[in-house]
Amino acid sequence: MEKTVAETIRYLSKKLLDNDKGIIIGQCLSAVGWVQNTVPAQKKGIIELPMTDVAGAGFAVGASLANIRPIFILRFQSFLWLNASPLINHAAKSKEMFGYGAPVFIRAIASEGPSSGPIHTNCYHSPFAHMPGLPICAPMTPGEYKEIWKNYLKKDLPMLVSEHRRSYKEKLEFQDKIFPKAKLSLFLISASRFEGDKILKLLRSNGIYVDVFHILWLKPFKFKKSYMKSLLKTKIGLVVDSTYEICGVSEHIAFKLMHSVKGSKVYNLGMKDKSPGCSPNLLNGTPDAFEIIKKIKTLIK
């Protein structure tokens, strides 16, 4: 039977712990369903941290220097702010500064909706992409999770994994979709990827076709030939992410794509530049299919 994303994370983590090759370290790991069932329900290899953000990340970095693979869990991506320093100043720079790696696997979990509020809503991978030495990915499928895990185990570098709760129950794998008549190239990141099929279906009913690409690696951004081919055809692109629209990864990727294909214009879409609230009129989440379609229609006019 195929595994969901949550089951895949739990399976890979358990294998690591049972082989004495790593630990899972974080706050409140055993509480509330073992982090949405992504953590194996066992004592072996599980380190419950006191509520000591900043120091907590330091403990994880220190453990990574002792020839093991620590999985450091942040139950909300907002905790990245507090834990940033040891991750970006020590783990990410260790290889360059000291010649030895600090391979911490950072699981930062995004959530959104009325129960997330102004601080905990969605992803904060963008500011971390600014710093050297920290690869960043946003896997949304079981297959992608296996791929990034393999990549992590191959190297002695830290990795920031920008997860989204919306993916945990999913079993599907995404495929890029390319159409000869496409009028726009759409690049989707994080939870926005779950809107892809709906967008295609709704647009097709209006006779509009767009190419859809699923982005896994945010840093380094892996530029595929198919992106270039599509942009050469459509000349218009749109990058969508589950985080703020301005000054972030989507804007950066849009810039890179635009400068790689002469004559193309690539835009980006994300959360509005205001803090999200719990009340329905204050929600500010991942752009949904309708918002994305609205933007596409203005761009292809």
């Binding site: 941290l49 006191p50 000591t52 403990f59 220190g62 002792a66 320093s85 040891p86 100043n89 000291f98």
Partner: protein, 298 residues
């Protein structure tokens, strides 16, 4: 307050203790002449990297390295003495300080990141106290290895450092913290920064703690008495002779005491004048030659 004799222990200067003191003093001489050459070269603008001299604090590193061997070491920005007293290659240290690719860190950062895995020493990123939780995380996994973590009295005030004391007790880690308490954060005195004493705070987390002056035998025997009761902390009162960073003195004669001169005098009183003069001569020439040779690479 003058902490020159603060909680100092009285010792019988028998042959055993004299031998220990001589081994420690030899390392102090080594560190001192290395640092004096660094000071002179930097003063003459021969290089411009970040440099944190430990002149005045030599007895701490010399004594700790004598009392604790075969350990994993986490130092901080003022770490030349740690590196040298544990056997790090002095040529690589000079090269790092003068910004060469052949340095400990390939010229990456001057004093702060120096390390040597061969002697069990990890590098410091340059943010004060960063090494404290990192050392604890390392100790969490390497339970059979004693970890020595150096910090300063300024670093002790970092929230993540205080949180670490609770964590090491929670997991009863095999770690000893050595606080080089020079009473200064750059130039701000401890009394202007906090009302609490580090050893008292640490005790409240359940660790063993001591607060002593930088007398070598006091440090040596304090460590011996506490090393089987880890996690623990020893706060060591000391005097930084030179600037926080770079080459210069804040004010002549500002230090309350000069432990190097005190130990030197003690050994001479113990009729060890030849040992003192001979080692001073050896290291004075050795370090001068070393610095001269490495500086030619620039």
């Amino acid at each position: 307050m003058n902490y020159k004799n603060y909680n100092i222990k009285k010792f019988q200067y028998n042959s055993k203790n004299i031998a220990i003191l001589k081994r420690i003093f030899k390392k102090m001489v080594y560190i001192r002449f290395f640092e004096l050459n660094a000071y002179e070269s930097r003063k003459e603008d021969k290089f411009k990297t970040l440099i944190y001299l430990c002149l005045g604090q030599e007895s701490i590193y010399a004594s700790v390295s004598e009392a604790l061997k075969n350990v994993s070491i986490f130092g901080q920005h003022r770490g030349h003495g740690i590196y040298l007293s544990y056997g790090g290659d002095p040529r690589k240290l000079v090269d790092e300080l003068i910004g060469l690719q052949t340095g400990t860190n390939k010229g990456m950062g001057g004093s702060p990141p120096i390390f040597d895995k061969k002697i069990g020493m990890f590098g410091h990123v340059g943010l004060i106290g960063d090494q404290v939780p990192v050392a604890a995380g390392y100790s969490l996994i390497k339970k059979n290895k004693t970890v020595v973590c150096f910090l300063g009295d300024g670093a002790a005030e970092e929230d993540y450092v205080l949180a670490t004391f609770g964590f090491v007790k929670q997991y009863n880690l095999n770690i000893i913290f050595i606080c080089d308490d020079n009473d200064l954060s750059v130039l701000t005195k401890t009394k202007d920064r906090r009302k609490w004493k580090l050893n008292e705070i640490v005790k409240s987390f359940g660790l063993k703690a001591m607060d002593i002056t930088d007398d070598p035998l006091t440090i040596y025997y304090s460590i011996k008495s506490i090393k089987n009761k880890l996690p623990s902390l020893i706060n060591i009162r000391t005097c930084r002779e030179y600037w926080h960073e770079g080459a210069g003195k804040d004010k002549e004669g500002k230090s309350f005491w000069n432990r190097y001169q005190i130990v030197r005098k003690k050994l001479i009183d113990l009729k060890e004048q030849n040992f003192v003069l001979q080692n001073e001569k050896i290291y004075k020439n050795k370090m001068k030659k070393l610095w001269k040779k490495q500086l030619l690479k620039l």
